[in-house]
């Protein structure tokens, strides 16, 4: 089976006032199914750019990106929209819910673009709301919810299409630490159910939830390590093998 995600020699340059900003400067990376990855690095190091790239919101300047064996770097706009819709679930730092829609409607939205009929949509959206334990807040508007609840709605929206990967760019960045912990337990739960998750964070205690941490500096991967617990597990496996 092909790798879930494979980046090769990926570069993303921006031209700003005649100067070239190398947001990503040669990234090689393979991500497998059911990995739980955190990305760390100083501000401006290229974390968001990488997430946008993986989330098919952006296209590389050079290099290749394969998603489940498909060449994303060659895709046109409609194909990108379709892959974002079906395969990727995005969670943003600022939640990005549509303020005029109820929580449930927000969660339904990706299914609308997937052309799924109303009844099925409702059912799937309710299930997703259940996974983030918000069935009692389905008909609330975002401004009637706390930050943590909003982010849970956003997570429900990300996973409602049953995507291949969930991407979260600083999902706890706008939350107090208590809500942050809550959100992380949601991600842990989703991972244990078999989801693949990548999240960007500044906080070491958040990063620790993941099994693998990728450190980025100046648009390059500086360090790519498995966390202690996982290392131990892997070593055990090797030993027994």
């Amino acid at each position: 089976m092909a790798d879930l995600i494979k980046l090769t020699g990926l570069q993303r340059y921006y031209e700003v006032g005649g100067e070239t900003v190398k947001a990503l400067d040669g990234v090689d990376l393979v991500i497998n199914q059911n990995e739980y990855i955190s990305i760390m690095g100083p501000s401006g190091s290229g974390k968001s750019t990488m997430m946008n790239m993986i989330g098919c919101l952006d296209s590389p300047t050079t290099g290749t990106y394969e998603f489940e064996g498909e060449k994303v770097h060659e895709m046109d706009d409609n194909q990108l929209a379709s892959i974002r819709n079906r395969k990727i679930g995005f969670v943003f730092q600022t939640f990005n819910l549509l303020p005029k829609l109820t929580a449930l409607k927000n969660v339904e939205l990706p299914l609308i673009y997937a052309n799924i009929p109303k009844d099925e949509r409702l059912e799937l959206a309710e299930i997703a709301m259940g996974k983030v334990s918000l069935t009692d807040r389905m008909h609330h508007k975002p401004n009637e919810l706390s930050g943590g609840q909003r982010q849970r709605v956003a997570i429900a929206r990300a996973l409602v299409t049953n995507p291949s990967i969930i991407l979260a760019d600083e999902p706890t960045g706008n939350l107090d630490s208590k809500s942050g912990v809550e959100i992380m337990s949601v991600f842990d739960e989703l991972h244990s159910e078999g989801n693949t998750i990548i999240l960007v964070t500044h906080e070491a205690y958040i990063a620790k939830h993941a099994h693998r941490t990728i450190h980025i500096l100046d648009g390059r991967i500086e360090k790519d390590v498995y966390n202690k617990k996982i290392r131990k597990k892997l070593n055990k496996k090797k030993a027994t093998a």
Partner: protein
């Protein structure tokens, strides 16, 4: 399919969220649609009353008179023309192959009295019995006078519907006496209600007496016209023929201009067409202007709407909206704002035409015009929505998501 329904729902939600703004921007469209539908109503009403008036003037009747109805001859030229004479009528009938009937009509304004009642400003016509063929009227009760009564100068009178009403409220006028000045007339007939000619002079406000009587009692000279009914298959030939006979009667040489005018219904028609084009043109101009202004307004507001919702567009793209679905959403929004304006315009126009119908003249708003209005406002909506929707569809998702 789902996305179409949803785009529609999204568009309506967005409009509902900004009711006031949508209502204000749609004003231009409302005015445009109002202008086009009201103009249509007006023209339909004008048409109707014009045709009704025209039915008083036969298509196959030529009216010989001193002046042209819509001529550009100078007034002194007309004043110097000789009067028409009653005996031309016999000559026209003898010599004109196409002449079917002819009647001289002399007219003056009089007051008719009966006991204490008085009908003022009545048009008294003196004419012959063939007037019943050249004029379009029916006798409601009683009869018209006979040739014998005409020749002998009998003092009999046929009165219009309104005259009868004023003088004989609930009584039967037939056989009763009325007075014009000191002359006593016996009422022998009443004409059917006819209404106003082009909304100006009432045809029910007149009275008719025999030509012989008229000349004896009032005058032998003065204003007169001849009404000639001709073969309706040869109206143009008949006209040429009558011109020739008239020139002979007047003894005009080949170089001399006609010193009389031959009028026909067509003169009114041409005049009316010109007026209709003027009204239609004005209405069209107002419509186009307000639709263009309205369209620009909608386009502006759509640009604002796209700008305000940049982040929303980014979110939608991030979760899988295609360019086409974003485009559709905003196009539908513009379309519905305009359609809404169109509907408001039509509702207002319905009210307006009801008022016109009630207080100005009978008219109805043509259904086809309402449909055309709706199509027009849809077109305006789509055209005005194109650029903003395209802009929305082409937004870069990352830029859009970062927008504050």
């Amino acid at each position: 399919m789902v996305t179409y329904v949803e785009s529609l729902r999204m568009a309506l939600t967005a409009i509902w969220g900004n009711k006031m703004r949508a209502a204000l921007t749609t004003l231009g469209i409302v005015i445009g649609i109002l202008a086009v539908t009201l103009m249509g109503t007006l023209i339909s009403g004008l048409d109707r009353s014009f045709e009704k008036s025209m039915s008083f003037l036969g298509r196959d009747v030529l009216y010989i008179s001193k002046h042209e109805w819509f001529g550009d001859s100078e007034w002194w030229e007309i004043r110097n023309r000789p009067d028409l004479k009653v005996d031309y009528v016999e000559k026209l009938k003898d010599q004109g192959k196409y002449v079917i009937a002819a009647a001289p009509v002399a007219m003056r304004s009089v007051n008719i009295t009966r006991k204490d009642e008085m009908a003022m400003g009545i048009s008294l016509a003196g004419t012959t019995t063939e007037f019943t063929q050249t004029a379009f009227m029916n006798i409601e009760s009683g009869r018209f006078y006979t040739e014998g009564e005409d020749r002998s100068g009998a003092r009999v009178i046929v009165i219009g519907y309104d005259v009868a009403n004023v003088l004989f409220e609930n009584e039967n006028p037939i056989g009763e006496k009325v007075k014009i000045g000191n002359y006593v007339f016996r009422v022998i007939g009443i004409t059917e209600k006819q209404g106003k000619f082009l909304g100006m002079f009432s045809l029910d406000n007149r009275a008719i007496i025999p030509m012989g009587t008229y000349q004896r009692l009032f005058s032998r000279r003065g204003w007169m016209r001849l009404e000639v009914k001709v073969d309706d298959e040869h109206i143009d030939d008949a006209k040429d023929e009558i011109i020739a006979i008239m020139r002979r009667l007047r003894g005009l040489g080949p170089e001399e201009k006609n010193d009389f005018a031959i009028n026909q219904q067509d003169a009114f028609r041409q005049q009316y067409q010109t007026m209709k084009i003027a009204i239609g043109g004005t209405g069209f101009f107002i419509t186009v202007l307000s639709l263009v202004v309205g369209g620009i307004g909608i386009m502006n507001i759509m640009f604002v709407s796209v700008k305000e919702r940049t982040r929303e567009i980014g979110v939608r793209k991030a979760i899988g909206a295609t360019q086409a679905s974003i485009m559709r959403q905003f196009l539908l929004e513009a379309l519905f704002i305009c359609l809404f304006g169109g509907c408001v315009g039509i509702v207002l126009a319905l009210g307006g035409s009801f008022l016109i119908d009630k207080f100005v003249f009978p008219s109805t708003m043509p259904v086809s015009l309402a449909l055309i209005s709706l199509i027009l406002s849809s077109v305006v909506g789509i055209v005005a929505g194109l650029a903003p929707s395209y802009k929305a569809a082409r937004l870069d998702p990352i830029e859009a998501l970062r927008y504050e």
